[in-house]
């Protein structure tokens, strides 16, 4: 008897859940009846698939929600990493890709004329530290040479003379403890930005060979290095290990309340990452004029940029699109999305990201006009 009761209850539950979910079939959106574009196609219910950089995922999900409520177009994104995103994009498993690094020159040449790129968001890399003796009000100042030497293992203690010279006010607080340098153990664009900065700003201390998404860190061989997986791994290591230093995306430092160091920029000033310092750095970025162009030189112009108040370590993330899509609805939806981002999306930038300069908004509009479906 008991058996039958339990079995029936279980069956009823399963059927109820299935029916409920089938009935829900929820997608919100299409509040404005004017979801048709100039070509008269109704876009409600179109689903766009994207994949790639983990950096852009939070911002994209915010944009996707607002866009879905307005136009009924669903944008689904998978943060699998820039490389996997590029691979999925080229295999046409997703409609658009997001990649922190732009297409390499070879890849761009291979697909020249059929792929569009736009660096639609920028984000800084911040240096975080965990020194219990320093109060929150004191900000540690570091420059490229100091950080390079720390990650090479040449500067061993926090009270090293070089660091003391950079921080005359806090010199007496710096303890005689070993510096634990935390780096990214996985392949990451953040590492590429950080090492490019070290190479440019350390005047020869950090060699060209050690620039890239995944390198062998000299400090690891000395035994004072720790590899963290992902931004969250580095964040956690820095939080858990006293006397450590690391580099993470800005949003992780903000959300976890980590102490951020002020970095010396090309003009010689120590700056913290803020909206102003980041926008200043972007003013001098060399951005190509059309989305069909080669973007592989953009990193060089954005890191360690000139400017009194520029923050020296930041980088772009790109959206990759085909010029031609077989499905006209998808093409129209993408064009609408790009235009919307250029006109309204940048009002909804969340913490940790920086809206790009005006030139990029024009690029987005240009990209929207380039996409065709025939």
């Amino acid at each position: 008897m008991r058996k039958i009761v339990v079995a029936v209850a279980l069956a009823v539950l399963i059927i109820a859940i299935t029916i409920a979910y089938s009935a829900l079939q929820i997608y919100r959106g299409g509040k404005e009846t004017a979801t048709t574009t100039s070509t008269g196609i109704d876009l409600r219910g179109v689903v766009l698939q994207g994949a790639g950089s983990t950096f852009v995922y939070p911002q994209l999900s915010e944009w996707a929600r607002i866009f879905q409520e307005k136009y009924g177009v669903q944008i689904n994104y998978q943060s699998v990493g820039s490389g996997a995103g590029q691979s999925m994009f080229f295999q046409k498993v997703v409609d658009f890709g997001c990649s922190d690094p732009p297409l390499s020159r070879d890849k761009w040449q291979q697909y020249q004329g059929s792929v569009l790129q736009v660096p639609w968001l920028f984000g800084p890399v911040v240096v975080v530290y965990n020194i219990p003796e320093l109060p929150r009000s004191t900000v540690l100042r570091l420059d490229g040479v100091a950080i390079a030497k720390i990650y090479k293992g040449e500067i061993m203690y926090w009270d090293d003379d070089y660091i003391k010279n950079l921080n005359p006010d806090a010199a007496h607080l710096l303890p005689h403890k070993e510096i634990i340098a935390v780096y990214r153990s996985d392949s990451s664009g953040t590492t590429e930005l950080f090492t490019t900065f070290l190479y440019k700003a350390s005047g020869g201390v950090w060699p060209r060979e050690l620039v890239g998404k995944s390198i062998s860190w000299p400090v690891e061989a000395v035994g004072r290095g720790v590899g963290g997986k992902g931004n969250e791994g580095v964040t956690q290591s820095v939080m858990q290990t006293p006397y450590s230093v690391g580099y993470v995306e800005w949003s992780y430092a903000i959300k976890n309340n980590l102490s951020i160091a002020a970095i010396k920029n090309a003009a010689g000033n120590f700056v913290l990452p803020t909206r102003e310092t980041l926008e200043e750095a972007l003013k001098n970025a060399k951005i190509p004029t059309t989305p069909l162009d080669d973007f592989s030189g953009i990193l060089d112009s954005v890191i360690y940029a000139p400017g009194e108040k520029s923050y020296p370590i930041l980088g772009p993330t790109h959206i990759l699109l085909w010029k031609k899509y077989d499905d006209p609805k998808k093409a129209e939806a993408l064009k609408l999305f790009l235009k919307w981002v250029a006109e309204e999306g940048y009002n909804y930038v969340i913490e940790g990201y920086v809206a790009p300069p005006q030139a990029v908004r024009e690029l987005l509009i240009k990209a929207a006009s380039e996409i065709v479906s025939q």
Binding site: K3, V6, T18, I26, Q68, N76, Q91, V93
Partner: protein, 281 residues
């Protein structure tokens, strides 16, 4: 006088109990952590946790995980029958023909399937299923899950079937039952508790698998979909994405989802244990 045997007995008991406590302490700690963090979230969200879409990073409410629940249910429903059937047949083969070299091969291979890194399974299924279909899908996710689940169903089922004392098989043959008859009407019912435990453990494994779905399922979070050829989300995938982000509201959703998953297991386990009775040999 205290005999050496009695002393050994007492020492043994203490050692065993101590090690068991050590074994179960981390399990308890993590389950309590999950429930402590997760229940607060579910209580705050109420029933909308089951029907809403996941929140954006900056939103104030927790939203819900409806797409993930639907996806997990769908993929479990597709992959479980496949894994159970294949595992059962393989287990019957190795139980009935133990010294056959084919049985040996199947036995060894079924277990070594578990050694493929789960992320590699997802990469392989991506190449074989997702790329030709030009889309992520619940089907691809279910295939990956079935591959992951196979070693478990096989090992549990084969252990269960082999534990049946041979007297029962001999008795069945003695009354002129066919071989299939002996398997279906004697072997499986006698071993049914162990078989059910095997199925339950596999369900738990399948519903909690993360890495195998990374490149196969599609992370479809903007709506609820029951179609096997369209992208879907899964609860462990959601947890994976959200718990590694820096946003508090997403962390809350992740904990709530984990607590929900564990609750679901509890219900299924208890229900099944009530239905399937133990067989005393």
């Amino acid at each position: 006088m205290y005999s050496w045997r009695k002393l050994r007995e007492k020492l043994f008991t203490c050692l065993i109990i101590a090690l068991s406590v050590l074994a179960i302490a981390p399990v308890l700690h993590i389950i309590l952590t999950v429930f402590a963090n997760g229940f607060a979230v579910i209580a705050k969200a109420g029933t909308s946790f089951f029907t809403d879409l996941p929140p954006t990073p900056l939103s104030k409410e927790v939203g819900g995980i409806a797409p993930s629940i639907a996806g997990t249910l769908l993929m479990t429903a597709i992959s479980l029958p496949i894994a159970v059937t294949l595992g059962l047949f393989a287990a019957i083969l190795t139980a009935e023909f133990p010294s056959n070299p084919l049985s040996l091969a199947v036995d060894a291979i079924a277990k070594s399937l578990a050694s493929i890194p789960t992320i590699a399974v997802s990469m392989i299924v991506y190449t074989l299923v997702v790329v030709p279909m030009k889309s992520f899908s619940a089907l691809a996710g279910a295939v990956a899950l079935a591959v992951i689940a196979l070693p478990y169903t096989y090992t549990y089922f084969s252990t269960a079937l082999r534990s049946v004392p041979s007297v029962y098989r001999e008795a069945a043959f003695a009354i002129a039952m066919s071989r299939w008859g002996a398997v279906v009407r004697v072997l499986i019912p006698v071993a049914r508790k162990a078989l059910t435990t095997g199925v339950l453990m596999t369900v738990a494994r399948v519903m909690g698998e993360t890495a195998a779905l990374l490149f196969t399922a599609g992370r479809f979070r903007t709506g609820v979909s029951f179609s096997p050829t369209a992208p879907v989300d899964a609860i462990p995938l959601l947890i994976f994405d959200y718990i590694l982000s820096p946003y508090t509201v997403w962390h809350q959703v992740a904990w709530g989802a984990t607590a929900l998953l564990l609750l679901a297991y509890l219900m299924v386990f208890l229900a099944t244990k009530l239905i399937v009775k133990e067989v005393r040999l």
